[in-house]
C-alpha cells in the first residue's frame, strides 16, 4: 500500500502543476508564501504583481509555497521555464533563491527581506516597516489604559525583532510604564491560532494588540473584545472598524514595476533596496478618529519627520535587556545593525526564542 501511496503522491505533486508554460517573451515570476487572498502580506505582493501586469509585462505566480525544500523546486521551475526575473517574496526563500541563482546566471532574482546576495544576479529589497512600528508604538503608548501592549510575533528573525524594538522604544518615549508582552506563534498564517494568541494576550491584560502575522483574525478578535488593534501589511480597517487605529501598508507596486522594466530594458543591476515612509514603500492607513484630533496631529507630524529623516526610529541611547548600550546617545543605529538585529531592547519582557 505504501509503495502505491508514494507513487500516487509523487505523480500528484508533478501533476499539481507548478508547471508553467515557456515562450520567448520577457516574463516575470513571483513566489508567494501565502495565498493571494490572505488580505495581508501576500495580498500586497500580489497587488504589486498586478501593477507589473498593468504595465504590459507578462507575469506568473505560484502561491502558498512553503519555505523549505519546496521553495527551491518552485524557483528552479520558474527559472527553467523561461522567466527572466523572479521575485521571491518571503524571508525563508533566501537560501533557495541564492542556490538557484548560481545555476541560472542569465535570470535575475529579487529576494524580499533577506540579506544574502551571493551572486551578481541576486538583488534584495525590503521596506522599513519599523518606521511604521514607531508610529504604532507612539499611538499604543498613548492609547493604552493597562500599560500593556500585546504583540503577536511570527518567527524570531531580525525583521520581527526590529519591529518589536521600534514599537517598544516609541511607546516608552510617550509612556515610560509600558510593558510589551509577546506571544510567538511560529507561523505567518493560521487564522485560528492568531486569534487564540490575541485572546490570550487580551486575557493577560493587553488592551492594544499588534501583530506581525498575516491574517485578519487578530484584529477581529480585538474588535470583539473591545480593545485596540492595528492592521498589518494591508489596510484591514473594514474587518475591525472600531478597533483598528491605523494599519501599516506595504506598497510594493512602484518598486516591482521599476525593476521589471529595468530588467526588460537591460538596465537591471544588483541592488540592496531598503525603502520606507519616504519612498512610499511603507504607508499608513487612515487614522481612527477615536484617537482624538491632537494625537492624530502628533502622529502625522512624527510620520513626516520619519519620512524626512529628521527623526530616526532607533535614536540613542538604546540599551539591551541587560542594560548594555546598543546605540550611544546622539547616534542612530546604522543599517547593518538594523538588518542583523537579534536582541531585545530594554523594557521588552521575555527571551527571544533561539
Amino acid at each position: 500500500m505504501y509503495k502505491n501511496f508514494f507513487k500516487y503522491l509523487i505523480s500528484a505533486i508533478f501533476l499539481l502543476g507548478f508547471s508553467v508554460n515557456s515562450n520567448a517573451d520577457f516574463k516575470v515570476g513571483f513566489v508567494y508564501v501565502g495565498p493571494t487572498g490572505d488580505h495581508g502580506w501576500t495580498f500586497q505582493h500580489h497587488e504589486g504583481r498586478n501593477a507589473v501586469e498593468a504595465a504590459g509585462i507578462k507575469t506568473t505566480f505560484v502561491e502558498s509555497v512553503p519555505e523549505g525544500a519546496d521553495a527551491e523546486r518552485v524557483i528552479r521551475q520558474l527559472a527553467q521555464s523561461g522567466h527572466d526575473l523572479i521575485f521571491t517574496t518571503s524571508f525563508g526563500y533566501m537560501d533557495p533563491t541564492n542556490k538557484v541563482a548560481k545555476d541560472f546566471p542569465n535570470v535575475k532574482f529579487e529576494h524580499a527581506t533577506g540579506y544574502k546576495r551571493e551572486h551578481s544576479n541576486v538583488s534584495t529589497y525590503s521596506a522599513r516597516f519599523y518606521e511604521g512600528r514607531t508610529l504604532l508604538g507612539h499611538i499604543a503608548g498613548k492609547m493604552t489604559k493597562t500599560n500593556t501592549i500585546g504583540y503577536i510575533a511570527s518567527f524570531p528573525i531580525p525583521e520581527v525583532i526590529r519591529g518589536i524594538n521600534a514599537m517598544t522604544l516609541a511607546a516608552q518615549k510617550v509612556n515610560p510604564n509600558i510593558k510589551t508582552k509577546i506571544v510567538w506563534v511560529f507561523t505567518w498564517y493560521d487564522p485560528g491560532k492568531e486569534a487564540e494568541a490575541a485572546q490570550a494576550l487580551i486575557d493577560q491584560g493587553a488592551d492594544v494588540i499588534m501583530q506581525h502575522t498575516d491574517s485578519t483574525a487578530p484584529v477581529q478578535t480585538a474588535e470583539k473584545a473591545g480593545v485596540w488593534s492595528f492592521g498589518q501589511a494591508s489596510d484591514m480597517q473594514r474587518f475591525a472598524p472600531k478597533s483598528i487605529l491605523t494599519s501599516i501598508i506595504d506598497d510594493w507596486a512602484p518598486y516591482y514595476v521599476e525593476r521589471a522594466i529595468a530588467a526588460r530594458d537591460g538596465t537591471w543591476n544588483q541592488q540592496d533596496t531598503w525603502h520606507g515612509l519616504k519612498e512610499g514603500m511603507v504607508a499608513m492607513g487612515p487614522y481612527n478618529s477615536a484617537m482624538g484630533a491632537d494625537l492624530v496631529k502628533e502622529v502625522e507630524q512624527l510620520q513626516k519627520d520619519l519620512a524626512s529623516g529628521k527623526v530616526h526610529s532607533f535614536t540613542g541611547p538604546i540599551y539591551d535587556q541587560k542594560g548594555n548600550i546598543l546605540v550611544a546617545e546622539g547616534k542612530v543605529a546604522d543599517d547593518g545593525m538594523l538588518a542583523g538585529m537579534s536582541v531585545y531592547v530594554k523594557g521588552v519582557e521575555g527571551d527571544i526564542p533561539k
Partner: protein
Amino acid sequence: MSLDISFIGILIGSIMASSVPLILAASGELITERSGVLNLGVEGMMIIGAISGFALMVITDNLLIAIVGSMLSGVIISLIFGFLTQSLLTNHVATGLALTIFGIGLSAMLGKNFVGIPGKEFPILFSSLRESIPFFGPILFGHSIVLYFAFALPFLTNYFLKKTKLGLVVRAVGDSPVSASNQGINVILVRYCCILYGGAMCGLAGAYLSLIYTPQWIENMTAGRGWIALALVVFATWSPIKVLIGALIFGGITILQLHMQAIGFRIPVQFLSALPYLMTIIVLVVISRDSRKIKLNTPTSLGRIFYKEK
C-alpha cells in the same frame, strides 16, 4: 498575572471553543473509519464546508441556511470520494489525498469573491447567564449551538456504536465486510452512508471556523486542522470519548502555551509550541494502553477495498 477562579473559567471556555472543529471532524471521520473506509480528505472537506458556509451566509444572510449548506457541501464532496472508492474501487489513501488537494484548490477558486468581507455575528446562547455565574458561567453558557452539539456528539457516537443495531452493522462492515455481506448486509451502502456522514461533520467543522470562530473567509483557513483530526482518531484508537479528550487536550495546551508566553514563563518557546502535539500523543497513548481494547476498537479492514463477487 491573574489566576483567580473566574479567569480559569474564561480560559476553559475558550479552550472548549477552540476544540470544536477537531471534535466535529474527528467524530465524523471516526464513523467513516469504523466502517472500514480511510478518508484522508478531512482537510479538503473542512475547507469546502468553510467556504460554502461563508458564501451562503453572505448570499442569503441566513445562518441556518449557511450551516445546513456547509454540511450538504461536505456530503456532496464526500460523495465524490464515495463513488470513486466504493463504486470504482480506487485506492482509499490516494483518493483521500486527492480530495484534500482538490478541496483546497476548489475552495480558493470559489472563495475569490468572498475575500475581505467581514463575517456576521453568530448568536450565542444564554449570554446573560455567562456573565452572572462566576467560573461555571463562561464554561457552560454563552456558546454557539454548534459547540453544544459538538460536545454531545462523542457521547451520541459512542452510544450509536455500542448500543444500537445500526452501530453494530457499521462495526461489522468495518471489521469483516465479507462476513457482513454474507449476513445480507449491503456493505457498499453502509460505507456510502458513513462516508457521507463523515463529510457532513467535516463540512460543519469548517463552517464553525468561517462562521463562528474567526468569522471571515480566508484561503486555506483550516490550516492543517483536518490532519490533526485524522491523527486524533488513530491515537484515540477509534474511541469517541477519547477523541473528545484528545481534542480538549490539544486545544487546551495550544491555548495554555500562548498564555504561558504572555505571562512570561522562562521556558523555550519552541518547546511550548511543540507541547500540544507531544502531550496529546502521550496522554492518548497512556490512556489507550489496553491492547485488547485496541483490537476491539480497530476496524480490521480499514482502508481495504471491498468488492462483492457476483
